[in-house]
Amino acid sequence: MAKAIRKKAGRGQNVLSGGRKRVLVVLFVPSVERDGTTSIDQQRWVDASLEMFGRVFGGATAYPKAKGVWRDDERGGALVIDEPVVVHCYTTPADIQDDGNLAALGAFCRRMGRETRQGEIGLVVGDEYFAIREFGEE
Protein backbone atom coordinates (compact mmCIF):
# COMPACT_ATOMS: atom_id res chain seq x y z
CA MET A 1 0.00 0.00 0.00
CA ALA A 2 1.38 3.37 -0.92
CA LYS A 3 2.11 5.57 2.02
CA ALA A 4 1.78 9.30 1.74
CA ILE A 5 2.37 12.36 3.81
CA ARG A 6 0.72 15.61 2.88
CA LYS A 7 1.68 18.68 4.76
CA LYS A 8 1.61 22.37 4.27
CA ALA A 9 3.95 23.47 1.51
CA GLY A 10 7.48 24.29 2.56
CA ARG A 11 9.25 27.58 2.35
CA GLY A 12 9.92 29.19 -0.98
CA GLN A 13 6.61 28.28 -2.55
CA ASN A 14 5.03 31.11 -4.46
CA VAL A 15 1.26 30.92 -4.33
CA LEU A 16 0.62 33.23 -7.27
CA SER A 17 3.26 32.06 -9.73
CA GLY A 18 5.41 29.00 -10.08
CA GLY A 19 3.34 27.33 -7.40
CA ARG A 20 2.16 24.40 -9.50
CA LYS A 21 3.92 21.22 -8.48
CA ARG A 22 5.30 19.90 -11.72
CA VAL A 23 8.82 18.78 -10.89
CA LEU A 24 9.12 15.14 -9.87
CA VAL A 25 11.80 14.27 -7.31
CA VAL A 26 12.48 10.57 -6.82
CA LEU A 27 14.52 9.07 -4.00
CA PHE A 28 15.57 5.41 -3.81
CA VAL A 29 15.66 3.95 -0.32
CA PRO A 30 17.91 0.88 -0.33
CA SER A 31 17.19 -2.39 1.48
CA VAL A 32 20.75 -3.60 1.99
CA GLU A 33 24.17 -2.21 2.76
CA ARG A 34 26.81 -1.80 0.08
CA ASP A 35 27.93 -5.42 0.61
CA GLY A 36 24.61 -6.47 -0.95
CA THR A 37 23.72 -8.83 1.89
CA THR A 38 23.41 -6.94 5.19
CA SER A 39 19.85 -5.69 5.67
CA ILE A 40 19.15 -2.17 6.86
CA ASP A 41 16.19 -0.80 8.78
CA GLN A 42 14.52 0.23 5.55
CA GLN A 43 11.16 1.19 7.09
CA ARG A 44 12.86 3.68 9.37
CA TRP A 45 14.48 5.37 6.38
CA VAL A 46 11.27 5.33 4.33
CA ASP A 47 9.47 7.06 7.22
CA ALA A 48 12.36 9.50 7.66
CA SER A 49 12.37 10.36 3.95
CA LEU A 50 8.60 10.95 3.97
CA GLU A 51 8.97 13.20 6.98
CA MET A 52 11.77 15.14 5.28
CA PHE A 53 9.89 15.52 1.98
CA GLY A 54 6.73 16.53 3.85
CA ARG A 55 8.58 19.15 5.85
CA VAL A 56 10.69 20.56 3.03
CA PHE A 57 8.53 20.16 -0.08
CA GLY A 58 5.02 19.64 1.24
CA GLY A 59 4.43 15.94 0.58
CA ALA A 60 5.62 12.63 -0.86
CA THR A 61 4.48 9.12 -1.68
CA ALA A 62 6.38 5.89 -0.97
CA TYR A 63 5.52 3.03 -3.29
CA PRO A 64 5.55 -0.65 -2.34
CA LYS A 65 9.04 -2.07 -2.52
CA ALA A 66 10.24 -3.48 -5.80
CA LYS A 67 12.27 -6.65 -5.91
CA GLY A 68 15.27 -6.77 -8.16
CA VAL A 69 18.17 -9.06 -8.80
CA TRP A 70 21.50 -8.48 -10.47
CA ARG A 71 24.62 -10.47 -11.08
CA ASP A 72 27.77 -9.11 -9.49
CA ASP A 73 30.53 -10.15 -11.87
CA GLU A 74 33.13 -8.63 -9.56
CA ARG A 75 32.21 -11.22 -6.93
CA GLY A 76 32.21 -14.36 -9.04
CA GLY A 77 28.75 -13.85 -10.49
CA ALA A 78 27.01 -13.78 -7.09
CA LEU A 79 23.35 -12.83 -7.34
CA VAL A 80 22.47 -9.76 -5.28
CA ILE A 81 18.85 -9.25 -4.34
CA ASP A 82 17.73 -5.72 -3.57
CA GLU A 83 14.30 -4.45 -2.62
CA PRO A 84 14.44 -0.67 -2.88
CA VAL A 85 11.53 1.59 -2.04
CA VAL A 86 10.85 4.40 -4.48
CA VAL A 87 9.68 7.69 -2.95
CA HIS A 88 8.03 10.25 -5.22
CA CYS A 89 7.69 13.92 -4.38
CA TYR A 90 6.14 16.58 -6.61
CA THR A 91 7.40 20.08 -6.08
CA THR A 92 7.77 23.40 -7.83
CA PRO A 93 10.74 24.63 -9.87
CA ALA A 94 11.24 27.39 -7.30
CA ASP A 95 11.25 25.03 -4.33
CA ILE A 96 13.62 22.46 -5.85
CA GLN A 97 16.10 25.21 -6.74
CA ASP A 98 15.91 26.86 -3.34
CA ASP A 99 19.32 26.72 -1.62
CA GLY A 100 17.88 25.82 1.77
CA ASN A 101 15.70 23.04 0.38
CA LEU A 102 18.60 21.58 -1.63
CA ALA A 103 20.81 21.66 1.45
CA ALA A 104 18.16 19.84 3.49
CA LEU A 105 17.61 17.20 0.80
CA GLY A 106 21.36 16.71 0.27
CA ALA A 107 21.99 16.45 4.02
CA PHE A 108 19.30 13.78 4.36
CA CYS A 109 20.77 11.74 1.49
CA ARG A 110 24.27 11.96 2.97
CA ARG A 111 23.01 10.87 6.39
CA MET A 112 21.15 7.93 4.88
CA GLY A 113 24.18 6.95 2.80
CA ARG A 114 26.50 7.22 5.79
CA GLU A 115 24.33 5.41 8.33
CA THR A 116 23.25 2.62 5.97
CA ARG A 117 26.75 2.16 4.50
CA GLN A 118 25.89 2.74 0.87
CA GLY A 119 28.19 3.19 -2.10
CA GLU A 120 25.79 5.69 -3.61
CA ILE A 121 22.44 7.35 -2.96
CA GLY A 122 20.41 7.90 -6.12
CA LEU A 123 18.07 10.78 -6.70
CA VAL A 124 16.12 11.89 -9.76
CA VAL A 125 15.14 15.52 -10.20
CA GLY A 126 13.02 16.26 -13.26
CA ASP A 127 14.59 14.18 -15.98
CA GLU A 128 18.08 13.80 -14.58
CA TYR A 129 19.70 11.21 -12.34
CA PHE A 130 22.00 12.50 -9.59
CA ALA A 131 24.37 10.40 -7.54
CA ILE A 132 25.55 11.31 -4.07
CA ARG A 133 28.68 9.38 -3.18
CA GLU A 134 30.38 11.49 -0.54
CA PHE A 135 28.70 11.14 2.81
CA GLY A 136 30.87 13.33 5.01
CA GLU A 137 29.19 14.80 8.08
CA GLU A 138 27.92 18.37 7.83
Binding site: A2, G18, R22, V23, L24, V26, F28, R34, D35, G36, Y63, P64, A66, G68, W70, D72, D73, E74, R75, A78, V80, D82, P84, V86, H88, Y90, P93, I96, Q97, D99, L102, A103, L105, G106, C109, R110, Q118, G119, E120, G122, L123, V124, V125, G126, D127, E128, Y129, F130, A131, I132, R133, E134, F135, G136
Partner: protein
Protein backbone atom coordinates in the same frame (compact mmCIF):
# COMPACT_ATOMS: atom_id res chain seq x y z
CA UNK B 1 5.45 25.15 -21.18
CA UNK B 2 8.31 23.13 -19.77
CA UNK B 3 10.27 24.86 -17.02
CA UNK B 4 14.02 24.78 -17.37
CA UNK B 5 15.78 23.69 -14.22
CA UNK B 6 19.35 24.69 -13.52
CA UNK B 7 20.71 21.16 -13.08
CA UNK B 8 24.22 22.36 -12.24
CA UNK B 9 22.86 24.48 -9.41
CA UNK B 10 20.79 21.52 -8.18
CA UNK B 11 23.84 19.25 -8.30
CA UNK B 12 25.91 21.78 -6.36
CA UNK B 13 23.17 22.31 -3.80
CA UNK B 14 22.79 18.58 -3.24
CA UNK B 15 26.49 17.82 -3.25
CA UNK B 16 25.79 15.36 -6.05
CA UNK B 17 27.15 14.53 -9.46
CA UNK B 18 25.00 14.60 -12.59
CA UNK B 19 24.89 11.14 -14.08
CA UNK B 20 22.50 11.28 -17.00
CA UNK B 21 19.02 11.83 -18.27
CA UNK B 22 16.17 9.52 -17.43
CA UNK B 23 12.49 9.41 -18.32
CA UNK B 24 10.80 9.91 -14.96
CA UNK B 25 7.04 9.49 -14.86
CA UNK B 26 4.57 9.58 -12.01
CA UNK B 27 2.47 6.78 -10.59
CA UNK B 28 3.33 3.25 -9.58
CA UNK B 29 4.24 1.99 -13.04
CA UNK B 30 6.31 5.10 -13.72
CA UNK B 31 8.17 4.48 -10.45
CA UNK B 32 8.87 0.85 -11.28
CA UNK B 33 9.93 1.64 -14.83
CA UNK B 34 12.30 4.35 -13.64
CA UNK B 35 13.78 2.02 -11.04
CA UNK B 36 14.48 -0.68 -13.63
CA UNK B 37 16.05 1.89 -15.95
CA UNK B 38 18.31 3.28 -13.23
CA UNK B 39 19.34 -0.13 -11.92
CA UNK B 40 20.34 -1.19 -15.42
CA UNK B 41 22.25 1.96 -16.29
CA UNK B 42 23.72 3.30 -13.06
CA UNK B 43 23.92 0.33 -10.71
CA UNK B 44 26.68 0.41 -8.11
CA UNK B 45 28.51 -2.89 -7.69
CA UNK B 46 28.65 -4.51 -4.28
CA UNK B 47 31.65 -3.15 -2.44
CA UNK B 48 30.69 0.36 -3.35
CA UNK B 49 32.86 0.73 -6.41
CA UNK B 50 32.16 3.02 -9.28
CA UNK B 51 28.85 2.29 -10.93
CA UNK B 52 29.31 -0.40 -13.53
CA UNK B 53 28.41 0.83 -16.97
CA UNK B 54 26.66 -2.05 -18.74
CA UNK B 55 27.93 -0.71 -22.07
CA UNK B 56 31.50 -1.61 -21.03
CA UNK B 57 31.30 -5.13 -22.40
CA UNK B 58 34.65 -5.40 -24.21
CA UNK B 59 37.89 -6.38 -22.52
CA UNK B 60 41.36 -5.85 -24.00
CA UNK B 61 44.87 -6.11 -22.71
CA UNK B 62 46.38 -2.66 -22.52
CA UNK B 63 50.16 -2.31 -22.50
CA UNK B 64 51.29 0.52 -20.26
CA UNK B 65 54.57 2.14 -19.35
CA UNK B 66 55.33 1.62 -15.64
CA UNK B 67 55.29 5.38 -15.07
CA UNK B 68 51.78 5.61 -16.60
CA UNK B 69 50.50 2.85 -14.33
CA UNK B 70 52.15 4.53 -11.35
CA UNK B 71 50.45 7.81 -12.24
CA UNK B 72 47.05 6.06 -12.56
CA UNK B 73 47.58 4.41 -9.18
CA UNK B 74 48.46 7.71 -7.56
CA UNK B 75 45.49 9.56 -9.02
CA UNK B 76 42.98 6.80 -8.22
CA UNK B 77 44.35 6.61 -4.66
CA UNK B 78 43.74 10.33 -4.23
CA UNK B 79 40.21 9.97 -5.66
CA UNK B 80 39.52 7.15 -3.21
CA UNK B 81 40.53 9.44 -0.33
CA UNK B 82 37.52 11.56 -1.26
CA UNK B 83 35.18 8.58 -0.94
CA UNK B 84 34.88 7.46 -4.57
CA UNK B 85 36.09 3.92 -5.02
CA UNK B 86 37.89 3.69 -8.34
CA UNK B 87 40.64 1.32 -9.45
CA UNK B 88 43.58 2.45 -11.63
CA UNK B 89 42.36 0.59 -14.72
CA UNK B 90 38.79 1.81 -14.25
CA UNK B 91 40.25 5.30 -14.30
CA UNK B 92 42.19 4.38 -17.46
CA UNK B 93 38.99 3.12 -19.11
CA UNK B 94 37.19 6.34 -18.18
CA UNK B 95 40.02 8.47 -19.60
CA UNK B 96 40.01 6.48 -22.84
CA UNK B 97 36.24 6.81 -23.15
CA UNK B 98 36.22 10.57 -22.50
CA UNK B 99 39.19 11.24 -24.76
CA UNK B 100 37.85 9.06 -27.57
CA UNK B 101 34.57 10.99 -27.49
CA UNK B 102 36.40 14.26 -28.14
CA UNK B 103 39.25 13.11 -30.35
CA UNK B 104 39.26 14.32 -33.94
CA UNK B 105 40.90 12.45 -36.83
CA UNK B 106 43.57 15.13 -37.08
CA UNK B 107 44.42 14.88 -33.41
CA UNK B 108 44.62 11.09 -33.68
CA UNK B 109 46.98 11.39 -36.64
CA UNK B 110 49.15 13.85 -34.76
CA UNK B 111 49.32 11.45 -31.82
CA UNK B 112 50.40 8.40 -33.81
CA UNK B 113 52.65 10.13 -36.35
CA UNK B 114 56.33 9.61 -35.42
CA UNK B 115 57.82 12.82 -34.13
CA UNK B 116 60.61 14.16 -36.32
CA UNK B 117 63.72 15.24 -34.61
CA UNK B 118 64.85 18.72 -35.29
CA UNK B 119 67.85 18.77 -37.62
CA UNK B 120 70.20 21.52 -38.41
Amino acid sequence: MKTQLDMDKIARGLGAERRGRVAAQGGYFGAMQLLADIQARFRVPAGGGRATDPSWTERRLLPLAPKTLKKLEEVSARVREHGTNVEPMQLAALLIEKTAERLSEQEAEDLVRPKRRATR
